[in-house]
């Protein structure tokens, strides 16, 4: 008994050392590229930190300044909120509909899935260019509207309301394929026996989907919702390229505000403070979602 414990102890120690040796490159990378910069940004957020010049400690001044004296911060918060509230439900719902629609008996569903996934892998710049060309007053939509219907469409990207709507529309179109694949994978794993039993009991069509299929793939829906919400709170490329944050600051989300403060205006302390506020928001929302999951997510045990 004693001998076995001794051997287990020394073997465990040797294995621990070997494991540490293998993990050390990743740990070093994690420390250098994640932990140290994150720590540095916490420090930055309590300093007045211009890119070039003297750095002075100012405590919570940056945070106070954001909420009271920065003309773009509250609009950025509002824009991020509007974008998230519009984008997440639309994206998740449409992807779910698509995934259910591309059920196992549809012919050519492999090819259709590829087609839906292409916008996800095409570089964002290419997507934006095409959408811009379609949306401008001399572009496709206005051309069709004027030519076929004699109606003049508004200048979408220059109108405060329509610009945000179009950014959301383009993002939904671009991100559909990704969530659709997640849901398709989850749907394919549903046990046939359960679905057959349900249809024998009289559940068909919408009832089958709503009361049987969706609860069974709720873990996948939960995952997709959380990831989509996090990435939509961090959106940057679509508004930056499509509308430049305009008109005015109507489509300038929080990450664009952070980038502008940090790199165009050179106020790194303020940018770091805004970044931590974003972090707090994301953690709070994710925490709430995790708490709520007990109500609607059914895990197989």
């Amino acid at each position: 008994m004693t001998t076995t414990t001794k051997r287990r102890g020394s073997l465990a120690r040797v294995e621990t050392r070997q494991a540490l040796g293998f993990a050390s490159p990743a740990l070093v990378g994690l420390a250098l590229f994640t932990i140290v910069p994150v720590g540095l940004s916490i420090v930055m957020s309590v300093f007045d930190w211009p890119t070039f010049g003297d750095r002075t400690f100012t405590g919570a001044d940056n945070y106070a300044k954001l909420f009271t004296a920065s003309p773009d911060f509250w609009p950025a918060l509002r824009n991020s909120a509007v974008y998230t509230l519009l984008y997440v439900p639309l994206s998740v719902a449409l992807s779910l509909v698509l995934a259910i629609g591309l059920g196992p008996r549809i012919r050519g569903r492999g090819a259709l899935r590829v087609l839906f996934f292409i916008p996800v892998v095409v570089p964002m710049v290419a997507n934006v260019l095409v959408w811009k060309m379609m949306l401008q007053p001399q572009g496709l939509f206005n051309g069709i509207a004027q030519g076929w219907f004699g109606v003049s469409l508004p200048n979408f990207l220059a109108d405060p309301f329509w610009a945000m709507a179009m950014v959301v529309a383009m993002s939904v179109w671009q991100g559909l394929g990704y969530n659709m694949l997640i849901f398709s994978a989850a749907l394919e794993q549903l046990p046939d026996s359960v679905l057959e039993a349900a249809s024998i009991d009289g559940a068909r069509g919408f009832r089958l989907v709503w009361s049987v299929m969706i609860p069974m793939i709720s873990p996948a829906i939960f995952f997709a919702t959380i990831m989509t919400m996090i990435s939509s709170l961090q959106v940057f490329a679509q508004p930056q390229l499509l509308t430049g944050g305009g008109p005015g600051n109507a489509t300038k989300p929080l990450v664009m505000f952070i980038w502008e403060q940090g790199f165009t205006f050179g106020d790194l302390g303020l940018a770091a403070a805004a970044a931590w506020i974003l972090f707090a928001i994301i953690i709070a929302i994710t925490g709430m979602q995790f708490a709520a999951q007990r109500k609607w997510v059914h895990y197989e045990h």
Binding site: Q18, G246, P247, G248, F263
Partner: protein
Amino acid sequence: MNRMRMGGVAAATGVALVLTGCAGGSDAAGGDGDKPTIVVDMWAGSESDTEALEAQVAIAQEQNPDVTIKLQTAPWGDFFTKLTTNMASGNMACITGMSGAQLGGYTAGFRALSDEDLATAGLDLADFNPGAEGIMSFEGELYGMPFDVATMLVYYNQDLLSAGGAATPEIGWTFDDFEQIATDATADGKYGFGMGMGAYQWMSLPIALSGTQPAAEDGSLQIDSPEFVEAASWFSGLVTDMGVAAPVASASDTGWGETQYTGGNAAMAVDGTWNATGYLDNESGFAAGMAPLPAGPSGNAGPILGSGYGVSATCEHPEEALKVLGSLLSKDAQDYIASSGRSYPARTESQPLYFESIDEEHREHVQSVFESAFASTVPLYMTQNWAKLESYIQPNLVSVYNGQTTMADMLESAQAQFGN
């Protein structure tokens, strides 16, 4: 045996990691052997830009055999972001390119050049275009010397003008001529003018019309002065009132007017002399021409702009850097820039070579327009928060062109926010 092999693999990985770290580090450290390395940091938009820069660096290298000169480039859009990062980490290249317009935000990184510095570099202000020292100066201090000078012109598409029966812009034309030509050329879905979104492109006509500038010589903002507001309102009225220009599609279309022009949708656009040869040999194949800015009641003073090189404040070899600076702006390097037609050199004696690089059929036209335009230029004054001002104005300009706010309101709120 197994344990030793695993330990060996772990050790090899560790060594490899350390080596890659070392290799990355040595690039940034000093030069090879004992020759100091001077790094030249400049923007380059295309392969031909990079080749041109390498040729200039080769000229400087020949003149300075006791240093090693290294060139590093970045696209224009990224250059200033990278420069900000480099300044913050103390990695600014000894010789850094800077556009006169952006200088205000970066003066902290540059060495203020004294008369002795200029003497070390072998540069004499008298050899350069009059007013050239104003390009790289800010609030009274000289932070570099320009390698090129530029001003704004009105480029026109002769084919579109003829199709609309409009007259051709000529040297000495007035704003009334401009309005007439734009109105005549607006026909069949084409517009007479392409609205500018970039700072130079949109400000030039109001500056020429009003004879005032958005900023004063001492660096204070006066963008809400009544004369400038009136001229700027006339400018935005080209879209909203006169209908001779298309509304801009999006705030991220920085080159809107110029793209409309090259795409054959607008007959005229304002752009800089640096694009003269580009427009003359345009890919669409239309007959292009240029004219100086139209003249208002106070003349047609356009802004003289330029880009230059400066020495960083943190350079470890300032003497050698100054000499390299002098070489980059020497007669040979300036002759090279001029004869390749890339830009109009700042050094006066090299300027005639620029015209010789232009096709014979355009040469006289370009020469007469350039000489007329540069005869009436004024330095463009800027404020210290010019970058912030520009990033506020551009997205709001879209709303002005779309008729949702007035130019007067926008300029007044810009003054309120940035004019302390």
